[in-house]
């Protein structure tokens, strides 16, 4: 089991990851698994019927809206960053959280770097597999570096235009 950073109530902590991320040609072992978007569409019902939690790995090209009716049964959506520069997953995360009402774990996988911590959290990610060796402490500090935000996103931070009303 690999280490996973989770963001809960404004703090980052390391957890053992109970999920196994499967390749498409890999047989599913017992226990919690994360499968590709295509495999979930083919085998989702079967896997979910086997007393386990199931996550879906969504690549930037996958049409995430097609998951809408399955979201309540999906424990983890793992959004893939093929390159840190590929920012499509930020929009996917926003759509999942603010439009499709996904309340499960939203995990960032792929080229996930410390510099992106705050942006990811703001877009609704709450679990991370950093590719740059960042530990939970460093992740938390990077995420909290800015005292204010200017716009509303998928988190509960108060934007500047609201904070100003109280001043």
């Amino acid at each position: 089991m690999s280490t996973l950073i989770k963001w809960r109530d404004g703090a980052a902590s390391a957890y053992a990851d109970p999920f196994v991320s499967l390749a498409d040609d890999e047989l599913a072992p017992d226990g919690d698994v994360i499968v590709s978007f295509a495999r979930f569409q083919a085998e989702g019902d079967l896997l979910l019927g086997q007393h386990r939690r199931v996550g879906v790995r969504v690549c930037p090209d996958d049409p995430v809206e097609a998951l809408a009716y399955d979201l309540p049964r999906i424990a983890v959506v793992a959004l893939v960053f093929p390159k840190f520069r590929d920012g499509r997953a930020y929009s996917t995360a926003m759509v999942l959280r603010t439009r499709l009402g996904f309340t499960g774990e939203l995990r960032a996988v792929g080229e996930v770097l410390r510099e992106q911590a705050a942006f990811m959290i703001r877009c609704g990610f709450d679990a991370f597999e950093p590719a740059d060796g960042t530990d939970a402490d460093q992740w938390g500090r990077a995420a909290r570096r800015f005292r204010h935000v200017y716009q509303r996103a998928a988190d509960d931070r108060e934007p500047a235009f609201v904070a100003r009303l109280a001043r």
Binding site: R88, S91, A118, A153, A160
Partner: protein
């Protein structure tokens, strides 16, 4: 003008602190240049041919005199005593040391300045009509909306890793002085049928390798929904813009490939699903920003100034300056004084630290503490009393800043080119200097009239060559610098992309070719025609014949 409050200041301080920590990691060797690169780019720090270049944002081209002094201080202390104003109304310092960068950002932050989002694939520094709040043809002040967008786009979590850079321009006037058709998004304020304030929204304009003029995707957007609509555009682009080819990643390619109608339909569909109330600003915040731009400190003055009129009749040099560099202000008794950073023989857009201090002093004393930067790489003192104009002129002349050539042939836009830039194929500055020297004689320049020459050292088109009346593009031909000329471009209301004149010319033929083009214009022009008008009437033929006559 808008003054940063505690929240805005905290933002800059936090950003500077973050960058200091990142620089320390780089200087200690904890991260590689490759890992550091995106971080420094997000702070406006480029590695160029000879040194680091710092690009400082000047949001919608507006500076207080204190901010101008801060720029002078940085140029003097950390660079070689000068800076370069760009077509995006930023200031570039070309000789920066990495170890100084955190100190520079700290210092700039104390003056409400920064280099945030002046690079990277994010929403870049905003530009607006340089005559905002000044021009009589304005329906609303575009700075209000530019500041609203500046805040919304700063560290936007969803839109900081777009397929490519993203630039927005705003105008509130009938005449487009912000070149909104060559922007990723262009916004034009107007009044709807019932008098309500609305935006015309253009998307998918841009220059570079494949120039496009942005089509209108929505005629009339209620202003209160600006941010939710921008979010919808950016979201469609972020999800569907190409990422496989850097040359096809700008929004213009997405809009062109889908067609403006289909792109607009997708934006509308996204917008319809958007929780607008969560994104759009409450009226209280819009009112707060609006109040910051309310005109303040104007006196009640007669429309005509006897001091100004007398100075014009007594001093021919001042009269010429007034003709070319001073325009009307909407407030009676006031004028807009344009400062051309285009002394023939000098680098277009360059300004010394001492000159910045002079401009700051004049702004403080004579222009309600305000300076503007125009995309033509010039400065503007926006609120000068006509009575004070002669004194302002004298001070500018003493500082070498009174070149009377606004919009004339020697008021040339040029990017830094191969003298500085790692992307360039050819030099732009020496070409600009040579042409400006050729037409330095003011009577000749005035006889030729409005003629906008724009020079880019490569196809990225930072010098806007596509929309120059005469555009000049540097190209590399087997290791030699050649220049391709285009005619008939315009970035104004009558926007158009220039047509290629003929085969590229060697560097030593460019000025002569411009002279030949001007000769054709002076021969062919009818009545009050500008160069552009004559070209549009006659077409390419007579111009082409004159320049390539030897080739026949």
């Amino acid at each position: 003008m808008y003054r940063y409050d505690d929240i805005d200041k905290d933002m800059l301080a936090d950003r500077a602190a973050e960058f200091r920590a990142q620089c320390a990691r780089r200087l200690a060797g904890e991260i590689t240049e490759e890992q550091f690169k995106p971080v420094r780019l997000m702070n406006g720090l480029y590695l160029q041919l000879h040194a680091y270049m710092l690009r400082i944002a000047i949001p919608y081209g507006t500076l207080s005199s204190a901010q101008m002094r801060a720029l002078a201080h940085v140029a003097r202390t950390y660079d070689r005593g000068y800076g370069h104003f760009t077509t995006r109304t930023n200031l570039q310092l070309h000789w920066i040391k990495l170890r100084d960068a955190p100190d520079i950002l700290d210092y700039l932050a104390t003056a409400g300045l920064h280099a945030i989002q002046t690079s990277g694939n994010c929403i870049r520094n905003l530009t607006a009509d340089p005559l905002a709040g000044v021009a009589a043809d304005e329906v609303d002040d575009p700075r209000i909306w530019a500041e609203v967008i500046r805040q919304w786009s700063t560290f936007h979590p969803e839109f900081s890793y777009l397929p490519r850079k993203f630039k927005i321009a705003v105008t509130g006037a009938r005449e487009d002085r912000a070149a909104i058709r060559i922007y990723d998004i262009g916004l034009r304020l107007h009044r709807g049928e019932e008098g309500e304030l609305a935006f015309e929204v253009l998307a998918g304009g841009g220059l570079g390798r494949m120039p496009y003029l942005g089509p209108t995707i929505r005629r009339s957007l209620p202003v209160r929904h600006l941010l939710s609509y921008l979010q919808a555009i950016l979201r469609v682009y972020n999800r569907h813009g190409r990422r496989d080819n850097i040359h096809k990643a700008r929004i213009k390619i997405l809009v062109a490939s889908l067609g403006a109608e289909e792109f607009a339909r997708q934006v509308e569909e996204e917008w319809a699903k958007t929780d607008k109330a969560a994104v759009d600003l409450p009226d209280t915040e819009l009112a707060r920003v609006r109040a910051a731009f309310a005109p303040l400190g104007f006196q009640s003055l007669p429309r005509v100034s006897t001091v100004f009129e007398a100075a014009k009749s007594e001093d021919r040099a001042f009269a010429r300056f007034a003709r070319n560099n001073i325009i009307a202000h909407k407030t009676p008794g006031y004028a807009v004084v344009k400062i051309a950073l285009k002394t023939p023989g000098e680098t277009p857009g360059d300004c010394s630290a001492d000159q910045m201090d002079v401009v700051a002093g004049l702004a403080e004393r004579y222009s309600l503490d305000e300076v503007r930067v125009a995309y033509e790489q010039n400065l503007i003192l926006p609120h000068v009393r006509l009575d004070d104009a002669p004194a302002v002129y004298k001070a500018l002349a003493d500082a070498g800043l009174a070149t009377p050539n606004i919009d004339l042939i020697s008021d040339i836009i040029a990017c830094p080119g191969l003298d500085y830039c790692a992307l360039a194929n050819a030099r732009a500055i020496p070409i600009a200097q040579d042409i400006a020297r050729k037409f330095a004689e003011p009577d000749l320049a005035e006889t030729i009239g409005e003629l906008k020459i724009k020079i880019s050292g490569c196809i990225n088109a930072c010098g806007h060559h596509h929309v120059g009346h005469i555009g000049i593009l540097g190209v590399d031909k087997k290791g030699e610098e050649f220049y391709q000329l285009t005619l008939g471009g315009s970035g104004a209301d009558d926007a158009s992309i220039g047509q290629i004149l003929g085969p590229a010319l060697p560097a030593d033929r460019v000025t002569a070719a411009v002279d030949q083009l001007v000769g054709v214009y002076l021969r062919e022009r009818q009545g009050e025609e500008r160069f552009l008008d004559t070209f549009r009437r006659t077409g390419l033929h007579p111009f082409k014949e004159a320049v390539y006559v030897d080739a026949h």
